[in-house]
Symmetry: C2
Subunit: 309 residues, 2 copies
Amino acid sequence: SKSNTPAQAPPVVHYHLNNLTTSRTPIDNQETVLILTPLVKFYQEYWDNLLKLNYPHELISLGYIIPKTKEGNAAYAALQAQVTKTQSGPKNKRFASVTILRQDTESPLQSQSEAERHKMENQKVRRAAMAKARNSLLFTTMGPMTSWVLWMDADIVETPPTLIQDLAAYDVPIIAPNVFQRFYNTDTKSQDIRPYDYNNWIDSPTAKEMGAKMGKDDILLEGYAEMATYRSLMAKMYDASADPTAKVQLDGVGGATLLVKAEVHRDGAMFPAFPFYHLIETEGFAKMAARLNWKSYGLPNYLVYHDNE
Amino acid sequence: SKSNTPAQAPPVVHYHLNNLTTSRTPIDNQETVLILTPLVKFYQEYWDNLLKLNYPHELISLGYIIPKTKEGNAAYAALQAQVTKTQSGPKNKRFASVTILRQDTESPLQSQSEAERHKMENQKVRRAAMAKARNSLLFTTMGPMTSWVLWMDADIVETPPTLIQDLAAYDVPIIAPNVFQRFYNTDTKSQDIRPYDYNNWIDSPTAKEMGAKMGKDDILLEGYAEMATYRSLMAKMYDASADPTAKVQLDGVGGATLLVKAEVHRDGAMFPAFPFYHLIETEGFAKMAARLNWKSYGLPNYLVYHDNE
Ligand SMILES: Nc1nc2c(ncn2[C@@H]2O[C@H](COP(=O)(O)OP(=O)(O)O)[C@@H](O)[C@H]2O)c(=O)[nH]1
Ligand SMILES: Nc1nc2c(ncn2[C@@H]2O[C@H](COP(=O)(O)OP(=O)(O)O)[C@@H](O)[C@H]2O)c(=O)[nH]1
Ligand SMILES: [Mn+2]
Ligand SMILES: [Mn+2]
């Protein structure tokens, strides 16, 4: 249904949060996963990849938040078409539920080219808006039965089909694979891969000092030469010849692909839209989770792929 | 149903957050209210008072979180009995839905006498636990149709039946009535009232200085002689002869009775379980909301009553 009428709720529902598990063996325990995607542009490859995830789809719910812009309207239409097709297709491919929210605030930046959105002076407003979108989506869709939240950006076009099982097997509060990008290498004249997401990092003394000297509303950003933080970037740690299951502890995380135990969010860990220890959005989330005693980890040698414009 | 099986969800639900209103005239606009109560002891007067609220019950959903302790089990049984009675009673008294969560963590303090729970050295752990309970409840029960969240403690035993309409009429992001307590005054030998909740306050230069000199994990508390903050307490501003509709802007709020526009929470404002600007739980919530540009207000001359042990 498309209307805003509330679903008919049963008069009383009792939930025992301590019966909810988040385990190494989520399928055996029938653990539900909520996949959340803030969406401004629809990629068919993203949807096709989602369909290939071999975690039981009946345990997966999907949630989207889409801005009320021309671009958002197009993404909405494209998403709707695919959702309708999937949800009326083979039963074993259907997801448990799909919730689509239209954002009530305007996108602060109209142009969304990779160059424009990565400009340093645009980052604070842009990431504050992204933080609010993520929070709206999270607060509105997480239910009493959610065991895991998988954050997955709309431009993540390729992951192993066992993504959920692989990440859950580590049984840690927060875990991020390494986000890479495929590209055509003009030097070697062949298809190649390169790091994409610089938000997964281990903190450095330099970054801490920079933070200590900043104004309270200033933020630290990663991946900008004019603000060298000397943090250890997971993007740089990839080693094809090393143990593919290697795990490192992180202080900052990205949200492009991120598995979070629902109890981390339930404790209050969200995406700060304001500078929190000079961090914002997903990086601020890792810090807030740390303040709540939940640790973040990353898998340097486990790759997922971001679209290449 | 008592089981943890997920409710059968429709395949796709679309929600337009910008069609959701939070207005001065919430009944005309059919705005839904989610009343959230962390509960460790059940008071019949609380439930009777809830039933007397004359906001249309079909627009009200209730949410509870109850610890897994002996005391919590007793509260759970008492609540269940009343819920069953109400939800099978006259249609116009029934609430839209009731969600009861059992907490997955232990209460850090077993004794819950007023004297014990108000001891200064117990406050930080106790309020951190309360913050997590509030967040679990909020993140788990707020849905796409929620317009308002009314926080109401289980020991609030008396409010005007027009509470929701009265508070909503101010059309502000966050609003708190003044929480008083009835008692027998042995001096005047008659029933009297006195302030109860000291968490609704306007900040002071002294408190700010104290905060600036504290360690990063220390917290400011209100209502303790050994930590005089010189904040202006709403509890002290009550004036029976003054304008009953008077409104003041606040920097800290209590959660005993508090009306919040759902969009404030959706932006990410939650109850920090860690020191946030040296504030925690509901007081930290007001500060976090302020960081998200949402203002808090209080009504010094609009009273609700806390139980008197
Ligand atoms: N709801 C919403 N989603 C957005 C907005 N801007 C970007 N997104 C989505 O948020 C995710 C991250 O944004 P993106 O521009 O890819 O970030 P980057 O790859 O880190 O530069 C993607 O899934 C986008 O489709 C917005 O204003 N509102
Ligand atoms: N879920 C949960 N609720 C609690 C716990 N401790 C207190 N409460 C409830 O939280 C609210 C505030 O607690 P209360 O002890 O009345 O606080 P005070 O009046 O500020 O001292 C009341 O509704 C209590 O029933 C707890 O450990 N877990
Ligand atoms: Mn992207
Ligand atoms: Mn109380």
